[in-house]
């Protein structure tokens, strides 16, 4: 995204949301001082483990919950107190929430009817929206006569037909089987890019998040851990939590030897390397080096640090090794299709890595 097109559309400032806990005496902080800018036209994903407050954040944006503290504004207009039906947003629910007593057509027409749009126009819009979603001819069906994937499309069509300023999704694909999920994922991607509609998407599936998003917001215990593009989040996580949550990660202890101009030199697995210092450090600072499994290599080379292969799993697209290096278990992914053979479990082998892929975290 170019700098000048970055118009802030939705702004969350210091949002806090508390729920009474089970005993009714204390409180659970579901959202803890969250501040967030959402740019016009972007696809933003809230990602995090179960219970981290993603849904609550989304429902605060939609207006179904009122924050205890903080301010939400849309195009610089304060909407914190605005009721949900007055907000120019449409929410796609996890379990679709289709109106079971209405036909597919009426489901999609429902929002337009609330706007008192003329009938002919509604008919035209609904039909074209159904056709776009590949639901042509199913308008007379009831939701329970559709497959899960079709129901999901109806839910999408129902929200899209409103042409809302912001489209909100709460784990819309989690009820679909694996194949269908991938298919719908690319469909949502295609639709969002072609319509350019600002979208906020909640999921706990990191692959889904990376596939769809312009930016990802990683949440943990009600707080934002990190915000950034999928590449940033994947390659340059700021915390161990983020590194761990986004894909697999190996953590190796290391000590900074010398720091100059934001570059740090250190020794890792018997190699002297130089890498970017992503945070303040000095010579002697203890740090953690993160290496993704695909950045590590196994080689029959006695000059490299030696380790024992504990487990070797053939996964088709890659071979996953768990190796034991001086008591630490390290995951290595070998996805070089040229390599025809697999190292055997119990074999002793040398470990190598790509120095450019090393990323440092605070200890």
């Amino acid at each position: 995204m170019e700098e000048q097109s970055k118009q802030v559309l939705l702004k969350l400032v210091n949002i806090v949301k508390e729920f009474p806990d089970r005993s009714g005496r204390g409180a659970v902080r579901a959202v803890d001082e969250v501040s967030l800018d959402i740019y016009d036209g972007e696809f933003l994903t809230l990602l995090g483990p179960s219970g981290c407050g993603k849904t609550t954040t989304l429902r605060l944006i939609a207006g179904f919950e009122m924050p205890n503290q903080g301010k939400i504004s849309l195009e610089e207009k304060d909407i914190t107190q605005q009721p949900p039906n007055k907000r120019d947003m449409a929410l796609v629910f996890q379990n679709y929430a289709l109106f079971p007593h209405m036909s597919v057509f009426d489901n999609v027409a429902y929002g337009l009817q609330s706007q008192k749009m003329p009938r002919a126009q509604i008919r035209e819009k609904v039909n074209s929206s159904l056709n776009t979603m590949g639901l042509g001819g199913l308008g007379d069906r009831r939701p329970n006569q559709l497959s899960g994937g079709q129901q999901q499309r109806v839910a999408l069509a129902r929200s899209l037909v409103m042409e809302p300023r912001i489209l909100l999704f709460d784990e819309p694909l989690s009820n679909l089987d694996a194949k269908l999920r991938v298919q719908m994922r690319s469909e949502i991607h295609r639709l969002q890019r072609s319509l350019g509609i600002t979208s906020i998407y909640v999921t706990h599936d990191q692959v889904e998040a990376m596939a769809l998003s312009d930016r990802i917001v990683v949440m943990n215990k009600g707080k934002i851990e990190q915000m950034g593009t999928p590449e940033e989040i994947y390659h340059y996580p700021k915390t161990r939590f983020v590194a761990d949550f986004i894909g697999r990660a190996n953590f190796l202890p290391a000590t900074a030897k010398a720091v100059t101009n934001g570059q740090v030199s250190l020794s890792l697995l018997g190699k002297q390397i130089e890498t970017r210092a992503p945070f303040e450090m000095a010579a002697g600072t203890e740090v953690t080096a993160m290496l993704r499994p695909e950045a590590l290599l196994l080689r029959k080379d006695a000059s490299l640090p030696q380790a024992i292969i504990e487990q070797a799993m053939y996964l088709g697209t890659e071979i996953e090794y768990l190796i034991n290096l001086d008591g630490t278990t390290i995951t290595i992914a070998d996805n070089d299709p040229r390599r025809q053979h697999m190292f055997a479990e119990g074999e002793t082998i040398g470990i190598d890595f790509i120095p450019e892929a090393v990323h440092l975290l605070p200890e």
Partner: protein
């Protein structure tokens, strides 16, 4: 930290304030509960606690006559509770666990008592089994004195067991057959399974059935008036104290004495049993329920249930038959005189008045009940539980007490600062000849059923469906009309049917409220019975049942029982 929950509720309440329509509706509902239910009850409490009232407590409670009446009431309640629960259990057991013929027939027979005036059976029992009863005297040649405890228990169990049956049947069907299978798998025989698994699992249901019947029995006025004889109970004593002795203070004191066990049961029911039953009935049953094949058990239970059915059929048959003969029990020639009296004669006013007032009350009661259910299930606000509780008092409090409460509360206009808030509703010169009070009582008595069926129906609807509607720009009124209401249509239908049947058949609550201008069928039936004109009474009963059935048909046509969400059969 203590204040957080309240804080939260205050916040939610503020959110409610932002939706003026919701707020207006909520205020109306609160106003209704306060005026139509709480105010009358409070009036009784105030009257009984007055200077005249307080000494009466001591007098009544130490007087052997009154002690006897209290005993009578408790004994009657207990017997009806035990026997009625047993019969309800029997019917439920036969439906769920036995593979026998005539199950559909038994089910229908069990439903009949719901839509007939409660003392129709009492009258019929006199005609069949009384001193000159066509069965007791006619067939067996005995002069049986049916008046008193035995007759009351007989008639009341048959009148009230339906609710127990439906309750227990629902629970038995919800019991997971896998439990039975597991027990059998572990080597238990059927009897042991029944004793150690079925009964304990159903215990909350059995307890709550007993309590319901107990309250129904001690609250009932119609049957004891007709069939009590010398066996006096609190409800009849209250009635006599008002009608015969013109002593509203004494009646208020007796009402409080009657109110204590009723409310106790209601509270136990609500806060204790409902909690246990949630735990015991788990999720979706899997597997098919095993039927019982032991021929002795099977046919023994079948015979017992059929015997009860036979009794019900006999009693109702006698009503139907008696309506068409000259003097039931004495002269058996065919006549349409009684119907002529009810439809064209002096009796017709009661038929018209009752039907009109019930028709006015029914939709209002159903809508109020459903709306309260909506607020209780979907909205957070301070006093939510109180609203629910207050509305439920409409049925938890015995009808006689509600009636006296109305007399005490509304015999004079209620004014605030010289402005009439509520006009005089009861007694001479009451507005609309007392009709407004009667309609209010009908509503009060019917709201709880609509409320409960609304609550259970609403709790099964995913709130996300309503949120989806709001998210698509619909306000709360539109969401309720287009989404919520259609989805709870079966509950609305049930609420309407119940409200109408309840209104048409109720007597205890309105017996003090009828005026010469407003005549009510149940009261007329009672008059006819007391004057020995059984034929007219039976004709009234038959017509009442017909009116209720027609009304059910009308509700079905207007509202229906389908939400439109049911799975459609393929190929249609």
């Amino acid at each position: 930290m203590q204040g957080i929950r309240n804080n939260q509720q205050v916040k939610q309440f503020r959110a409610l304030l932002k939706d003026p329509l919701l707020l207006v509706v909520l205020l109306f509902l609160i106003f209704f509960v306060v005026v139509a239910i709480l105010l009358p009850i409070l009036s009784i409490v105030r009257e009984s606690a007055s200077d005249d009232g307080r000494p009466l407590f001591i007098r009544y409670l130490s007087d052997p006559v009154y002690q006897g009446i209290i005993w009578n009431t408790l004994i009657l309640g207990t017997l009806v509770g035990v026997i009625g629960t047993a019969i309800g259990f029997l019917f439920a057991f036969v439906q769920v666990k036995l593979n026998v013929p005539f199950k559909r027939f038994m089910h229908l027979v069990a439903l009949v008592p719901v839509i007939s005036p409660p003392f129709a059976l009492a009258t019929s029992a006199i005609v069949l089994f009384g001193r000159s009863g066509s069965i007791s005297r006619g067939i067996f040649g005995v002069r049986y004195d049916i008046y008193g405890l035995d007759g009351l228990v007989f008639v009341m169990t048959l009148s009230f067991f339906t609710i127990t049956y439906l309750n227990l049947r629902g629970m038995m069907e919800a019991l997971d057959p896998a439990l039975d299978e597991a027990a059998i798998n572990l080597g238990a025989n059927r009897w042991r399974v029944f004793r150690t698994v079925t009964i304990p699992m159903l215990l909350p249901g059995i307890a709550s059935s007993f309590l319901l019947l107990f309250v129904e029995a001690i609250a009932d006025l119609g049957n004891p008036l007709v069939l009590g004889g010398n066996y006096e109970v609190l409800a009849t004593r209250v009635y006599v104290t008002v009608i015969g002795l013109y002593n509203p203070t004494g009646a208020a004191v007796l009402s409080i004495i009657l109110l204590v066990p009723s409310l106790l049961v209601f509270v136990v029911q609500r806060f204790w049993i409902s909690r246990i039953s949630v735990v015991s009935v788990t999720g979706k049953p899997t597997g098919t329920p095993q039927t019982i094949e032991n021929p002795f058990v099977k046919w023994g239970l079948f015979a017992a249930a059929m015997f009860v059915c036979l009794m019900v059929v006999l009693l109702y048959g006698a009503i139907l038959h008696g309506a068409f003969v000259n003097v039931p029990g004495v002269r058996w020639d065919f006549t349409l005189e009684h119907f002529d009296f009810v439809i064209n004669g002096i009796g017709s006013q009661a038929m018209r008045d009752t039907t009109v007032l019930s028709s006015i009350a029914t939709p209002i009661a159903a809508v109020i009940g459903i709306l309260i259910a909506y607020f209780v299930v979907r909205k957070q606000f301070l006093g939510r539980d109180l609203l629910d509780f207050g509305a439920m008092l409409g049925i938890a409090v015995p009808g006689t007490i509600i009636g006296i409460g109305y007399i005490l509360a509304f015999n004079t206009p209620i004014m605030i600062g010289g402005v009439t808030i509520i006009p005089k509703l009861t007694g001479g010169q009451a507005v609309f000849g007392g009709a407004l009070a009667i309609v209010l009582v009908y509503i009060t008595r019917s709201v709880p059923a609509a409320l409960r069926s609304g609550v259970s129906s609403l709790s099964q609807i995913d709130p996300a469906i309503e949120e989806a509607s709001v998210s698509l720009g619909a306000d709360s009124a539109r969401t309720f009309r287009r989404i919520t209401l259609p989805l709870i249509r079966p509950a609305l239908f049930a609420g309407l049917v119940y409200a109408f049947a309840r209104s048409m058949t109720t007597i205890s609550a309105i017996i003090f409220l009828t005026t010469p201008q407003t005549k009510i069928m149940t009261q007329q039936i009672l008059n006819e019975v007391e004057n020995g004109r059984y034929g007219n009474a039976f004709a009234y009963c038959v017509i009442l049942v017909v009116i209720v059935l027609v009304a059910i048909g009308v509700f079905y046509a207007l509202v229906g029982t389908n939400t439109g969400a049911e799975r459609r059969v393929k190929g249609r």
